[in-house]
Each structure stands twice: as C-alpha cells, then as structure tokens.
C-alpha cells in the first residue's frame, strides 16, 4: 500500500514531461520520482483520443507496479483526454497539467483575457477553454497553436533571432485580443521561457504574466500531497527514468528538459 515514502509517478509521451519532473524536484526535494516516457510511440498529438487513452492506460499501469502514491500526467495531450478516466480506473490521485495551468492563469489575470500557446493537438482539443469556462464565467481564453516551438526546444535553439521571430509570429494574434496573461500550454515551452517573456513583454504588454504549467503543476502537487498526508519530508529525493525507446541524443535532449545532468545508470529501457 502506497504511503508518504512511496514514489510519485510521472508520465509523458516523450521527454518533454521532464520539465515537470524538474519543477517537482525543485519544489519537493525529498520526493522520489519514477518517470515514464513513451518515447517509442511519441508523439501522441496525432493519435486518436481512443488510442491516446489506450497508451496512457498501459503507461499508468506500468507505473502502478512501482507502488506510486500519485500519478502526474506531464503531457498536455493525455491530460486533455484521459485524466478523469485514469482517476477512476487507478483509484489514486491523478494530476494533469491542464487544470493547474488554467487555474494559475485565471489567478494571474486581471482583465480575464488569457492566452495559451500550445501544440496544434492541444489547441484542437479545446481542453484549456473547457477548464477555464469551469473556473470563471467571465474569463475568456485565446488559444494559439505554436508548432515550431517544440522542435526549437528539442534542438536547444532557444536564443537569437530565429526563436525570437518565431515567438513573435505566434504572439501577434494574441496582442490583438488584449490578453494580460499567457499560459505555456506545452511541457516543451519552459525551455524557451526566456525568449517568450522577452517577446511577450514587447508584443503583448510590459506587465504581461507568463504562467508555466510545469511550475503550476508542482505547486498543486505539493498542496495535494500535504492535504492527503502523503508528502515525504525527509531523506534525499531521487529520479528514476524509464523509456520505451532510447532515441539518439537521448542524454542530451533529456538533460536539456530536466535542467540537470542525467544519471545514465538511473535510465532503463522497457517494453510496454
């Protein structure tokens, strides 16, 4: 039976969710994390909801075998489709990234006009809009697909003219909407937060709030663990990484998302 000493399961279709694992490690340094990245089947964004749910179920079951106390779905695509279903099926607390991101966005906004940049799949799902509508009848969401930001983040091409012009291209439609808050609705985007903040301050407004779903998720996770008596408050934290395929440049890309070096002995390739 899982208790406070049990690990937290974190799951993503690939390696982007390591930005969420990183935020959790920063906020909760005593926690043990088991991360599963389904790198053999990434990206999920182009799969049907039925397929995404099937993949998510397999990943969640695999993490359950590690006696996790809570599951974090560090993937916007899966969060848009499968959080409620997995919560019922797994009989454990399940936290996605969309709810925390939307709540932090509403909390940050003064005029109720909130922009979100995300992948085409997340925008098409309408999940941020539904979440926001459930939180406030006055808030209005302005979604903007920003597909080039994922490859820029994966390449580590995060400063200079190109990333700045790409971000500007995506933020200009949001400027016309008068948003005062911008949610980063994709786990890859925290790598580009520097250039996004800079461009947002110039294109949207000088005091625009930029909300990072990864940090918002870590903050809600902390509160949830404390409220359920599941927080681990002493001892060293650790991170174990399972992937379904070891793509080329794994260590380089993973380190970039995690914001620290990868301990290769803590990485295991598994079949699902």
């Amino acid at each position: 039976m899982a208790d406070a000493s049990s690990p937290i399961g974190v799951f993503d279709s690939g390696l982007g969710g390591l930005t969420v694992a990183s935020a959790i490690m920063d906020a909760l340094p005593h926690e043990r994390i088991v991360y599963l990245g389904d790198t053999a089947r990434v990206p999920y964004g182009t799969r049907s909801p039925r397929t995404v749910l099937r993949y998510a179920r397999a990943c969640a079951r695999r993490l359950q075998a590690h006696d996790i106390k809570l599951l974090v779905i560090a993937c916007n695509t899966v969060s848009a489709v499968a959080v409620d279903m997995l919560r019922v099926e797994l009989d454990m607390p399940v936290l996605g990234v969309i709810g925390p991101g939307a709540r932090a966005g509403i909390a940050a906004s003064v005029n109720g006009r909130v922009g979100v940049i995300a992948t085409r799949g997340t925008v098409a799902s309408g999940a941020y809009g539904r979440e926001l509508a459930g939180l406030s009848s006055k808030a209005e969401l302005f979604p903007q697909a920003a597909p080039l930001l994922v490859p820029l983040a994966e390449e580590g091409w995060i400063d200079g003219a190109v990333p700045s012009e790409v971000v500007q291209h995506y933020l200009e439609p949001l400027a016309a909407a008068g948003v005062d808050t911008l949610i980063l609705g994709c786990t890859h985007y925290p790598l580009l937060v520097g250039v996004i903040r800079e461009v947002a301050a110039r294109v949207l407004s000088a005091d625009v709030r930029v909300v990072d779903s990864a940090h918002a998720t870590a903050t809600e996770l902390q509160a949830l663990l404390v409220s359920r008596g599941l927080a681990r408050t002493e001892g060293p934290g650790d991170l174990r990484i399972m992937v379904t395929d070891l793509p080329g440049r794994f260590a380089e890309v993973a380190s970039r998302f995690l914001g620290r070096d990868i301990d290769e002995s803590a990485v295991e390739q598994i079949d699902l």
Copy 2:
C-alpha cells in the same frame, strides 16, 4: 502478374513522400500510383533499424496486394535501412530515394564536394556517404542535419525572414566546406526549395547546384520502367492514397506536399 498497366507503389512513413509522388506524376503522366503513408506510426526516424524494417515490410506487403509493378520507397529513413532487403523479399524492382539523390549529386558536382541536408536520423545513418563512396573514390560528402525544416514545411511556413534565417543557419557550415552541390535529402524539403536556392546562392556560391531527390527519383524511375518494358504510355494517370491514420489537417498538409488538390474520394484509411 504485374505488367505495364499495373500501378506503381509508393510508400512513406507519412505524407512527405507525396513530393515524390508529385514528381512521378509530372514525369510520368500516364502512370497509376498507389501511395501508402504510415501516418499512424510516423515518424520512423526515431525508431530502431529493426523496427523500421518491420514496419516497411508490412507496408510493402500491403502495396503488393494491389498488384504493383514496382515499389518506390519515398522515405529517406526507410531507404537508408531497407531497400536491399525489400528488393530480395518482394522479388520486384525497388527504388529508394537515396541512390537517385546521390547519383544526381555526383553528376552535378564539378569539384566533387557535395553537401546534403537531411533529418538527424538520415545524417546519423551515413547512407548518403556510403552511396557516394560507392560511386566515386574522389567525391566527398558533407552532411548537415536540418531538423527545423520538416516542421516549417509541414506548416507551410516557406517564405519570409524565419525560413531564410533557419536555412542560412544550416548552410553556413557547408560554406566552409566549399561544396558546389547541395542534395535535398528529405522528402519534405522540396517545399522549401525556393528559399533554399536563394540562400544557397548567397551563402554557398552563386552557381551552386541544388539537387532534389524527389525529381532524381522520378527520372531514374522513368528509365527503369522503360528498360524493363513496364512503362504505361497511354491513358490517364491516377493517384490513390492510403493512410493508416487520418491526422487533423490531413487534406491541407497532403495538398501542400502533393502540389495539387487532394481528391478526398481517393483517400482511404487502412489498418496494418
């Protein structure tokens, strides 16, 4: 038994290979084409060679059921791994894109210094270098991974400052190598050929030759069909498209790669 009236099978991991289908339609207007895009499992570039071969075999067998006379592998990743194997297993002519691209590159080059831009996977496979080494003992290949070009092509973001600066970023290392010929080693790149030519003329040299693998493949295909008595020389050509998943924006992206409107009644979703 397949004869000249039988269709040509064209297979890719996704929709990029439609640029090859388009070049074939231009060069061989009487041919019938059956295209299979394995959109449910795209991209192949991050899979292991064993997995790529397994997927390729399934796709090839599916096309064989359409009584094809010849198989074109319109995918650099599969061409790098599976052409020889499929040729033996299928007992029919099999043409990849890497051989034609490399031969056209050697033919175009004066100084024997040939650059190729491609995905990271194709560069890592070393396939263009092996092909070139088999053609000429003096030629030297300079490969350059250009990962941002695929999403730019898929988005249709093919002119303006951003594509130009991205291409320049990738071509600058090739300028130092003194290449006089540049092979487009990815089926997505023909969409960006305008900006690539413009930047190559500026960054590499005014008379740089840009070789498009899709056109090179169509040219070799034509010669191969004629030499085997398999060319279809009259009647209207047609194109039938099979995909393993119908991703969002399918018609938009597919039309872009094909360079003409998609007849949706000619598109079929299949399971493999």
